[in-house]
């Protein structure tokens, strides 16, 4: 059974702005799929449609074998993290998390143990009994992730899950998502933080102007770009980036041209292309410039 099956999804906001257009997407149990694209490319709209917050204007959705937008009964099997993570500020982190646990139909000591374990793993153990009003942005993001994960959903819809996380929490989240994937849960995450994506995600879907422009494994996407090499040069006055086809063999020519121009390089970094370069290669748009 597919966890997500979306066909021909289109959504346009009341203002006339296109959210997404004719999106097909299938997600199987155990997959972690990253949705990547500049701001306004349709990632969040797709997550809002799948979570049942928005209703598609055309196309169809099947979530966990059930056609149509997620109903309250189905939502107990879905974990959602929004781009914004409001909480009950007067209550403690643990009280907030317990509320969302109960709101998603999870009860009993096993659920409580799972919740406490997640709180500890995400590094909130010491702050769990402090009111959320005293939390930093990153702590609130961690708490929202705990709340989305605690009822052991079969589908996770995470909007910018890596924002605000310290390296330890980032590692913990990656580990939890991998464990959940191993036990059959599917994850769809919208992000522009490409750091953890290649190692964590089994598939990457690129979005641009409301359309899906690519959908494949990170390795397959990287293979698209061929034998390119990225050369990043910092001079006294500027930072330059070159994509060259013949690898480091181009370096002497680049350096010579900079010296001739009176702006000699101060540092040079040569690296393999990443997903950001693949996105630019496929769309002609610089992902980072629009973040």
């Amino acid at each position: 059974m597919r966890v997500v099956g979306a066909t021909g999804l289109t959504y346009r906001y009341g203002s006339g702005r296109l959210g997404i257009e004719d999106i097909d997407l299938e997600v199987s149990p155990g997959e972690i799929v990253a949705l990547i694209g500049p701001n306004g490319s349709g990632k969040t709209t797709l997550l809002r449609l799948l979570s049942g917050e928005l209703a598609p204007q055309s196309g169809s959705i099947v979530i966990l074998g059930t056609p149509g937008s997620a109903s309250p009964g189905l939502r107990a099997r879905i974990g959602v993290v929004h781009d914004q993570t409001p909480h009950f500020g007067l209550l403690t982190g643990r009280e907030n998390a317990r509320f969302f646990l109960a709101a998603n139909g999870a009860k009993g000591p096993e659920s409580e143990r799972e919740l406490d374990a997640l709180i500890d793993r995400m590094g909130l153990g010491d702050a769990a009994d402090v009111s959320v009003d005293a939390y930093s942005f990153g702590m609130r993001r961690k708490l929202a992730l705990v709340e989305a994960l605690a009822h052991r959903p079969e589908l996770l819809l995470l909007d910018e899950p890596f924002i605000g996380l310290d390296p330890k929490a980032l590692g913990a989240l990656s580990a939890v998502l991998s464990e959940r994937a191993a036990s059959g849960a599917a994850t769809l995450l919208a992000t522009n933080d490409l750091g953890p994506v290649a190692a964590l995600c089994s598939r990457v879907a690129f979005f641009h102007d409301g359309k899906k422009v690519a959908d494949a494994s990170p390795a397959e996407l990287l293979a698209n770009i061929g034998e390119h090499t990225i050369v990043e040069v910092r001079t006294g006055t500027r930072q330059l980036r070159f994509e060259v086809e013949r690898g480091a063999s181009e370096l002497p020519r680049i350096c010579q041209e900079l010296v001739d121009a009176g702006d000699p390089p101060e540092s040079i970094q040569v690296r393999e292309p990443g997903l950001a370069e693949v996105f630019r290669f496929l769309t002609g748009v610089d992902l980072e410039d629009r973040l």
């Binding site: 917050e53 309250p72 009964g73 929004h82 009950f88 007067l90 509320f99 709101a103």
Partner: protein, 254 residues
């Protein structure tokens, strides 16, 4: 009816101690000022009724709109709690908390001019139902407001119109349209009980008997109580039936 929403709203009400204390003390101060003044009994009863109804209507609409603005309502809408369970639990717990906060003020309003404990018991029941209606009105008002300011304006308008229809500001002539409307208005019972509490005979079309005791007040406010129960049932049924669209409106605004 006890569920996650009831539990969280109950906990929130008691966690904000300063606000809770203010919500108890300010009505007590107002009721004390009016109750021990030489204000004519009908005026005193009107002030008390206005205070309690505005308290209930604002107390429902404004926190709902605040939760819309900060996004928590959108998060709750994406859990497995059904819209009807969410909204009705919220209104019920709101009425219970408001009732608890107004209890000292109500006690003063009834007893300062000689009302007995039996009347107070009746007044508590009528107050709770009136607050339930005010909370439901506040919920509907919030669903149609696009900001907290609009919510405050609409709440005041809705509460004052219903108070007027309930004969709080003037007694309608027997047989007039106003008298017929009062027969279906939610706050006439509260007004009648408060009038009895301050020692005046309720004289509107909903009133039947004079007195300052619970039994006579029960008889006096019986027609008003019937309309209160009727309006409560209608509003509860409408909210239950339309909870989905109401919650969608709330979650997507402002």
């Amino acid at each position: 009816m006890i569920g996650p929403i009831w539990s969280i709203e109950w906990a929130l009400a008691f966690r904000g101690r300063r606000l809770f204390a203010l919500n108890v003390l300010i009505p007590v101060a107002l009721v004390s000022l009016v109750g021990w003044s030489k204000a004519p009994a009908p005026h005193a009863a009107a002030v008390f009724a206005i205070l309690f109804v505005l308290f209930g209507t604002f107390g429902s609409a404004i926190p709902l709109l605040r939760d819309c603005e900060n996004g928590i309502l959108r998060r709750i809408a994406l859990t497995s709690i059904t819209p009807s369970a969410h909204l009705l639990q919220r209104v019920l717990v709101g009425a219970a908390v408001d009732g608890l906060q107004l209890l000292p003020a109500l006690g003063l309003a009834i007893m300062v001019r000689g009302g007995g404990v039996d009347l107070l018991v009746l007044a508590i029941a009528v107050l709770f139902l009136s607050l339930l209606v005010a909370g439901l009105v506040g919920l509907w008002v919030a669903a149609f407001a696009r900001s907290i300011a609009e919510g405050a304006l609409f709440s005041a308008l809705a509460a004052l119109l219903l108070l007027h229809a309930s004969g709080i500001f003037r007694t309608p002539l027997t047989g007039s349209w106003g008298a017929r409307v009062e027969g279906f208005s939610p706050y006439a019972a509260l007004h009648d009980v408060l009038l009895t509490g301050v020692g005046t005979a309720p004289s509107g079309p909903t009133s039947m008997l004079v007195g300052n005791s619970g039994w006579s007040a029960a008889l006096a406010s019986a027609p008003g109580a019937t309309s209160l129960l009727f309006v409560t049932a209608v509003l509860l049924a409408a909210t239950w039936r339309l909870a989905g669209p109401l919650q969608r409106r709330l979650a997507s605004s402002p």
